[in-house]
Structure formats: structure tokens, C-alpha cells
Subunit: 349 residues, 2 copies
């Protein structure tokens, strides 16, 4: 197996810097759009053969060093009792959002092998198809990010209801977060059982919080998820914790227990790594919008990131957030090749 | 005059920490809503007597240490040639956004005393009404934030068109930013002439950029605005530079030349100040959503911010972004009193 990615997660030396791109199986690829014409978004997620095919599309097109299962963070909430749809152009909508303590008490924690069996099966199928060529990443939403979707009923800018609940009913918050910890831990462990070689926890919205509030209301639950997985997993798989807008709290994120911390593009990679300390690997941190620039502008920025990570094992090149629709495919291909060749030269310098 | 705010801007000792709140004249106040029922938003901005009355509403209600002129950052673009409306529930729309180099060449730089005469007159009227009780802050949008509205045609999440222009046509970008620098500098100077005691530059969206891109495409123009004002102003007024999502680049923002840097809530105030260094005052940094919490939760967070700023002159207490609609008025009043009393006790400890 090409284990460059797994080695970097463990901060071991590599021949060149591994690279994959968040949301690499996505709408910027014509192969993806061709399937999307025939299926609804959740239908693609819930049909293991389709999810497997989509997962493999970027692997066939680019020399990326990891696959990530094509799935979505929100269907996990359906098993807990929430009604989810994706409306065209509107993103996810939860039709019975959590608004009262009773709603939260009524949430169920399920066996993920049943409630999200389709994703577990997609992991199994994809592992077989990959034939150990490159590692497969499984993932889940983090407790805060799932809680905010469940409470707001969809995307949000201000997280009014989520923060109000957190500040006003700390006991109810704890109940909700504890249920999510149990559900997420189970889901991640089921993906390891099915063959996932690494896990990423997406806390995309936790950067909306002040660091003190993050430390008090979110960090303990992230720590529990990571500790649960580390204690109970059958094989040792690295855990990546990813959020955006967290440049002011990397010194807190180092306490999550994650092997790798994702870094968005709003901070220089070496500044983030200095805050994180030597105990974690880092993943990032190119602004996804840069891929719309002419190639020399992309190359200059990718090289700068690699230079800032040089001389220290444990960097996985990635974008600072998911790849955007309409991203030029030829730039993706060139970026992946550039990361490999430039970093291989760095190693011999 | 109560010059606590101006002293803190200059990092001089004060009897207690000065406090004002971004967007303190706003919809959370019933007095504001009563006027808003009779006028459109831009009509309020463009009627000096109304803008003056609104500016004074929070001054009459709370013991804040500064007034900020009721105005908007976008009408400055109208004089330059852009067509602006505010649509109900949609925010600002620019009907002829900048999409081609010719659009940018056609932009005019105007005399702000004519093109935004209403705000200059409102500053003059408000100064008279305030009778030197407390200082009056004038303000403008920053070059990047105004450019992004002008290019995107309104608010944005990804700043696709703005970043594309920046990466792809650096010369056109420079032309645009230079025109904005001239217009903004003139506008700020006109407000000083009319009596403004301090100035704030709002760069609310510059945190969407990677620090390297900020340093290359934005910082030089912020520096020019600040240098222009400092060189040409009639009286020496302090300059505040404010952005959000900039926790990863305070060590760059210290190079702006601003006397005070605004700090949102996504970083501990002392961590931000350590990056900024001793040469600037700081303003912030309570999460506006905290004002929806029960009072003890507000008090604990306000005290934490004051503790983190203690023992060092140059802190102005504020929210980390504008106050939100529906914020409980009694919490605003109590917060202002608490900041004064708690920090007065700190000073004697």
C-alpha cells in the first residue's frame, strides 16, 4: 500500500508529502455530475455501489494519497430521530429541529451498523475495490457541528439557537452532546470495523465559538469521541480533527487527542503548527479559491505551504476547506503532481 | 469631555475601562425601531437630523464612553458610480457590480463633502448635540471590504469573484484598491473636519483571506489610508482598524499603522494582544451572542476579558462584532455598568 498518508499522520518520515483534497469526490468532476444527474444527493449517499463509484472517481483521475468515503455527516441524525432532506439550492433542512429539552430527551442512540448501514457497506465495498493501493478515510461530523445543524434546522450564520441553548441550559446541552458522543463514537468504530484506515472528525462550525466557550462546551466531547475510538478500536487508525475559523485556538485543539489537526487557510501553516506543538501532525492549508487562479499563482502558494512545513515530518497537504464547485480539474491534477515533486526535491535538498 | 475612550486609544491610564458597542444605534432598541417604521434604511442614513437622533439614542440610554455616527459603509460607493439599494430581508444589493476592467476604470473618486454630504452634516450636527460630553467616532469601510461588495454585488460567503480578480488581474486590482484608498481617505478626513474625534475602518470581510494574500493584496492599501489620514488631518485623531476572522494574522495587522486594533471573539484578548505587540491599543472582544445568555453568564465572560486586559493601558471594551437584533436592552445597560465598575475595582487592586 502507498502508506505515505498514514506515515505522515504518525509523523514518520516520508519520500514526499502526501496529498488529498477535502470533498475530492465532488461536483467539480464531470464524472460526478454524470451520476448526479441520475440520483438525488441522499440517494447517492445511501446506495453503497454508487457511493463506492464516486469515492473512486478522484482516485482514478489524480495521484492523491488517500481516498475518503463518499458520505454525508447529516444522515447519522436521521437514525437519532431527525427528518432530513436536501432542497435544491438550499442545502440541508432538518424538519423537526431540536427546540425543547423534550426533543433532546427523545433522541435515540442507534447501532450505526443498522442506522447508517449504507455508508458502512460503502466503506466495505470501497476497501475491496481499492485493493490496498491507498488508504481509505472514514469520517463523521463532530458533536458541536451536528448539534448546531440539529438545533438550527440547517446551515446558520450566527448559531443563535445553538449558543442560546448552550448558555441557558447547560444540562440539556450536556445531554445532547453526550448522546452525540455515543452515536459518533459508534459510527466511527463501525467504519474501522468495515476497513477504514483513518478517520476524520469534521467540526466545521466550531470556529463560531469564543475559545473559552469552545474549551468549556465542546472540547470535552471531542476528547470523549477520540478517547472512545482509541480505546475500543480493533486496529490503531489515526484520527484527524478538522475545523475552520479556529486560528485563535490551536493551543486548545492540541488537547483534543487527535493525531492530526486540520488547518484552514486563515493562518500560516507554521504559525498554526507552533501553537499546536510538536505532538500532532497537521493537514492543510491552501485556500480552495486559489485553484481558480492561473497556475503560477497556485504553484507559488503551494510551494509556500510546503516550505513552511519543511524539515519536520507530519504534514499532509490539503485544502483549507472542501474543494469548490467549478474548480478547474486540470489545476487539481497539476497541484497533486506539484506537491509530490516539489516535496520530494525538498527532502533531498 | 469624558475622554476615557480617547485616552485608552492612546494607551494612557484611565480611571476605568471605556466601553461602546459596535452598531450600538440599532434595531435592538425600541427607539430605533420607532423611527425605522417611518423611514427606509438609506433614507435614515441620508437625513442628517434623523441620523443624528439615532446616533444619540444609545448615548441617552446607556453610559457608553463614545458615540459612533449612524451611517453605512456602502453609500460611499454610490458617488463612485455604483447603484445601491437595500432590499427587505436581503441586505444590500449593488445593481451594477464591477465585473470587467472597464467597470473599474469608470469609477470616479469624488469629494466626499458633496457625494456623502448627509453623513458629513450628520457628524457636524451630532457634535453640536453631544456638546463635548463624549467623543464621536466617524468611520468608513476599508478598501477590501468595499471592493468585495462592489465586485460581488452584495454580501458573499466565498468571495469568488473578488479573489478571482485579485489572483488573475493584479493590475486591475491595484487600480480598484487605489481608487478606494483615495475615496476612503478623503471621506475619513472630511469626517475629521466635521468634528469626528476618532475614526474606525471596518474591514469586516478581510478575514476571508489567507495571511499571505492579505499581506500582498490588502495591507498596503490599509497602510495608505491610515498614512493619508495621519499626514493630512487637521487634528490628531486615533484610528481603529477592525476586522473579523483574523486570529491568524494579528502579527500582520500590527503593520497597518492603526492606533487601535479591533479583536473579534474568536481568540482570547491577551493572545491577540501578544501577537499585536505593545505598540497598539485593542478593542473588543465579547461574542455578541453572549448578550442573549442569562446575566451571570454574561458577567463571567466580561470579567474574563477585563482580567485578560488588566495591568496594561489601552483596552477599549466592545463586542467582537456588531450587536445583534433582539439583544435584550437590559443586558446592554448592565454590561456597560459592569465594565465600568469591575475595571475601576481592578485599577485599585
Amino acid at each position: 500500500m502507498n502508506d505515505r498518508f498514514l506515515k505522515a499522520c504518525r509523523r514518520e518520515p516520508v519520500d514526499c508529502t502526501p496529498v488529498w483534497l477535502m470533498r475530492q469526490a465532488g461536483r467539480y468532476m464531470s464524472e460526478y455530475r454524470a451520476i448526479r444527474e441520475r440520483y438525488g444527493f441522499l440517494q447517492m449517499v445511501k446506495t453503497p455501489e454508487v457511493a463506492t463509484e464516486i469515492t473512486l472517481q478522484p482516485i482514478n483521475a489524480f495521484a492523491v494519497d488517500a481516498a475518503i468515503i463518499f458520505a454525508d455527516i447529516l444522515p447519522l441524525l436521521e437514525g437519532m430521530g431527525l427528518q432530513l432532506t436536501y432542497e435544491k439550492g438550499e442545502g440541508p433542512i432538518i424538519h423537526n429541529p431540536l427546540r425543547a429539552p423534550d426533543d433532546i430527551r427523545a433522541l435515540r442512540v442507534t447501532d450505526s451498523r443498522e442506522s447508517v448501514a449504507y455508508t458502512i457497506e460503502a466503506v466495505r465495498l470501497t476497501k475491496r475495490e481499492l485493493a490496498d493501493k491507498i488508504p481509505l478515510i472514514g469520517f463523521s461530523g463532530a458533536p458541536f457541528t451536528l448539534a448546531s445543524y440539529a438545533i438550527e434546522g440547517g446551515g446558520s450564520r450566527e448559531y443563535r439557537l445553538t449558543k442560546k441553548l448552550m448558555y441557558t441550559h447547560p444540562d440539556t446541552w450536556q445531554t445532547l452532546m453526550t448522546k452525540l458522543v455515543d452515536q459518533i463514537s459508534d459510527y466511527l468504530l463501525a467504519q474501522v470495523e468495515a476497513g477504514a484506515d483513518a478517520l476524520q472528525i469534521f467540526d466545521s462550525w466550531a470556529g463560531a465559538l469564543a475559545p473559552g466557550d469552545y474549551a468549556e462546551y465542546v472540547l470535552p466531547y471531542v476528547q470523549q469521541v477520540i478517547a472512545n475510538v482509541k480505546t475500543r478500536q480493533l486496529r490503531t487508525v489515526p484520527l484527524i480533527y478538522f475545523g475552520t475559523d479556529m486560528s485563535g485556538m490551536y493551543n486548545i485543539l492540541r488537547q483534543t487527542g487527535a493525531d492530526v489537526l486540520g488547518v484552514d487557510w486563515r493562518i500560516f501553516l507554521d504559525d498554526a503548527w507552533a501553537q499546536i506543538g510538536p505532538g500532532s501532525a497537521v493537514q492543510g492549508n491552501l485556500d480552495p479559491m486559489v485553484l481558480f487562479a492561473p497556475w503560477p499563482a497556485i504553484e507559488r502558494r503551494a510551494a509556500d505551504i510546503l516550505d513552511r512545513a519543511a524539515g519536520r515530518p507530519g504534514h499532509i497537504f490539503n485544502l483549507g476547506h472542501g474543494i469548490l464547485t467549478e474548480t478547474p480539474v486540470e489545476h487539481v491534477q497539476r497541484l497533486v503532481e506539484f506537491v509530490h515533486s516539489y516535496s520530494a526535491d525538498q527532502a533531498t535538498r
